[in-house]
Symmetry: C2
Subunit: 149 residues, 2 copies
């Protein structure tokens, strides 16, 4: 792999203190229905790993489709996680941009070869994610998303 | 106006220390050409206003189209500006999401009625922008973009 094989950002991740409250404001400002809040990493597929260690930290999320890009609101629950660390050190704000990858292992290996290391990874029923710390190179965290099908 | 009349995010703004360096990394990681760096607010159309006062602060920007959303890298030059304030208080990171509006005055008035105030505005040859502080409500700064044509 010589690059990420995609140039499409599919998601923007936003860390918030109170996902219900912020979702209500998004719905009001954009004139769209308020989505349900869903748990992140709350099942046997989660296998959350943060900086090399298993973690029981979770998140509460709400998703809005804003054009071709999805806005993901995440309220951290417990610790340690990149979500909790971001809220504690930077406050509420935009946490990551996400792309889809066909080959998670290759994409992580390519980024690691450029000094960009995975800080958190896990899965869900149907896919896996990895947050890669690209803050020195790309100014932000990059999330890799892989769907099994 | 009862809402923003759009649900499409067209741009993500990223504040960086060195726009040339970060643009080089984006080009390399995504496998795309490195764009030219362009000045923001460097002409007679700029009329930059920051927190109610005229400002001579500027920015150096580079733009990448990453799918349907544009990534705008901004290096602050001088002060005061929301770009310089963000870099100084939060460090490099994602600064705003942007939408297009047909009626800048109405959009600013609608957001102000919900407690979201414009912190910086200005223009270019062909349009205007406003950064609205929606950090309490939407967890981030929202940029309104208006093209004259």
């Amino acid at each position: 792999m010589n690059n990420l094989d995609t140039t499409t950002v599919v998601q923007i991740g936003l860390i918030v203190k109170d996902v219900e409250k912020t979702a209500r404001h998004y719905a009001e400002v954009f004139g769209i229905p308020q989505p349900s809040v869903v748990p992140i990493a709350d099942d046997s597929f989660a296998r959350t790993n943060y900086r090399g260690q298993a973690s029981t930290a979770r998140g509460k999320a709400a998703f809005f489709d804003l054009g071709a890009v999805q806005m993901e609101l995440i309220e951290p629950v417990g610790a340690p996680s990149t979500w909790e660390e971001f809220l504690r050190t930077k406050g509420e704000g935009l946490h990551h941009i996400a792309i889809k990858t066909m080959d998670m292992a290759e994409a992580r290996k390519f980024l690691a070869s450029k000094g960009m290391e995975t800080i958190q990874h896990g899965g869900w029923d149907g896919g896996q994610y990895a947050y890669v710390d690209c803050s020195e190179q790309l100014g932000t965290i990059l999330e890799l998303l892989h769907n099994d099908k």
